[in-house]
C-alpha cells in the first residue's frame, strides 16, 4: 500500500471513528497493520459507549450520561492479541485513590466480543 493511500485510510479511520461506523471501514482495510489502526479508533468509540452504558446501568441521569466522555477513554493503555485475529484493549484512567478501567475485546472485523468490563472504585490506600 502506498504511503498516500495509507494516509487516506488513516484519515478515513479518524472520520469513521467519530461517526461510529468503523465496521464498514474494517471491510475495506484487509491488511493486519491497517486493520490494527482501524481497530484502535473502533475500540475508543466502543469504550465510550461502554462507559456511558455503565453510567446508565448504575442510575446516572441521561443528560449527565451523554455529557460524559472521560479523557482516559481516548488513550489505549494496553493492547494485546486475543486469538483468531481479535484484540483486547485496556483503557486505564486510574489514580492512586480511584480505579477506572475499561477492558474490551474486538474481533478483526471490529465486532465487539463479549461484554466490556468496567472497574470503577473509590480506593483507600495505606499511608505513612
Amino acid at each position: 500500500m502506498s504511503s498516500s493511500a495509507l494516509r487516506k485510510l488513516v484519515l478515513a479511520a479518524m472520520f469513521v471513528g467519530v461517526a461510529g461506523t468503523g465496521i464498514a471501514l474494517a471491510l475495506t482495510a484487509p491488511s493486519a497493520e491497517t486493520a490494527g489502526l482501524d481497530l484502535d479508533a473502533e475500540a475508543r468509540t466502543r469504550a465510550v459507549e461502554a462507559w456511558q452504558a455503565h453510567l446508565r446501568k448504575i442510575g446516572w441521569p441521561e443528560e449527565m450520561v451523554v455529557a460524559t466522555r472521560p479523557e482516559f477513554l481516548q488513550h489505549i493503555s494496553d493492547k494485546a492479541p486475543a486469538g483468531a485475529g481479535s484484540w483486547s484493549f485496556v483503557f486505564d484512567g486510574s489514580s492512586t485513590h480511584e480505579q477506572r478501567v475499561v477492558t474490551l475485546t474486538l474481533a478483526s472485523d471490529g465486532v465487539l466480543l463479549g461484554e466490556p468490563e468496567i472497574q470503577w472504585a473509590d480506593l483507600m490506600v495505606a499511608g505513612e
Binding site: G59, W120, M124, V125, A126
Partner: protein, 379 residues
Amino acid sequence: MKHSILVAVRRGAKLFAAGCALQLALASSASAQLTIVRNFTGGAPPANLAGGGNLPDIFNAAADWWERTLCTQHTVTITFRWGALGGFTLGSHSLTAQGGSPNRETAGTITFDNDGSSVFFADPTPTESSEYAVFVELDDDLGGGLINVGRLHRNASGAALGRIDLFTVVQHEIGHALGLSSANASFVAEAGADKDVDVVAPLPAAGSVLPTDPGGSAHLDMSRALMKPSASPSFRHLVTDADILANAEISKFDTVLLGIPIEATTVVRNGTGVNPTGFVEVTPAVIGENWSTTVDLSNGANMSLVVLGLAGPTSSMTKWGELLVAFPHLTVSIAPGAHSAAIPFDCAIVGLTIPTQAATLGPPKLELHNALDVTVGAY
C-alpha cells in the same frame, strides 16, 4: 403500648422545650431513619489479621455509627467481603445502583484487602478504642463557623501498634456509600467541577466549604478527616463532623447529628433517701427502640405509675413521700407493674434527659418511690 396508658398532664402555659420535643416525638409515628443493609459474602480474612476481632462485627459497629449521624429516611444496601486488592490498597468501594429524589446511592459493594499486603488490626471492641492512649479532636473554620474536622485516637499499643485499624477503613468505605463516591452523580454534580462540597442550609455550619481531592477522587482534601484517601498504621480515625456534613450535603440528608453518638444512660436518683426503691428493671432509652421498666409492687399496691418529669428534676416533700420530678409538665404512665414506650427514631431527642419517678397506688395508699434520670441515646 399494650399494658399501660400514657396520659399527658399539662399544667401551666409554657412547655419546657425538652419536654415539648419528647411529647412531639412520642406522638410521631414516622421514623426518619437511615438504614444500612449489610450483606457479608465472605472471603477469607488475611492470615496476618491481628487483634481477635472480625470483619462482620466491625462492619456492624461502623454502619451503626453512620446510621446515628445521618438521621434521614433512606436505605442503602452494602455487600461486603474480603478480597485481594493488591498494591497499597486497603479497601475499595464500588457504587452499583443509585436513584431517587434526591439522588443517593442505593447499593454498593465494598472489598477489604486480604492478600496480606495490608496489615490490619481487627478490634473485638471497636467502639471502646482502649488500645489507643490519646484521643484528639480538632476544629477548623471553613467558612461556616468552627466545625470538627478531626477525631483521632493515637498512641497505640498491643495489636493496634504498627497496624492499620480495620474499623477506620470500614467506616471510611461505608462513608463512600453515603455520598462521597466518584460514581455517584450527586457527588459529580456537587464537587466534579469546583472540587469542593458547599454546605448549605438547612444543614448546620452552612457556608462551610469542604475541599475534595484536587485529583478528582471522591475524598476530602482534609488531612484529619475520615474521608481523606489514606490510613496510617497505629491511628484510629472516627467520623468527623466534616465527613458527616460532606455526605449530608451531597446526598441531601437534611437532618444530621454531629458529634460522637450519645449512648443511652440511666442514673438512679433518690433525693434525701426517704422514698423506697421502686424501679426494679429498666432498659436503655434508645431512639427507634422500646423503652421499658418495671415497678416493684411488693408493698401490696396493685397499680404503679411512672411519672416522666418533662420539666426537670426537683425535690420537695409531700404527704406521699419526696417528689423528685418537677411539675408543671408531666406525662404519667399507669400500669400494674410493667411500663413501656416506643422511642421514635428521631435524632432531635438524642441527648435529652427525662427525669422519671415511680409511684405505687393503694391499697394501702399512694406512695412515691425513687427517680431515674433517663438520657435518650443513639444507641
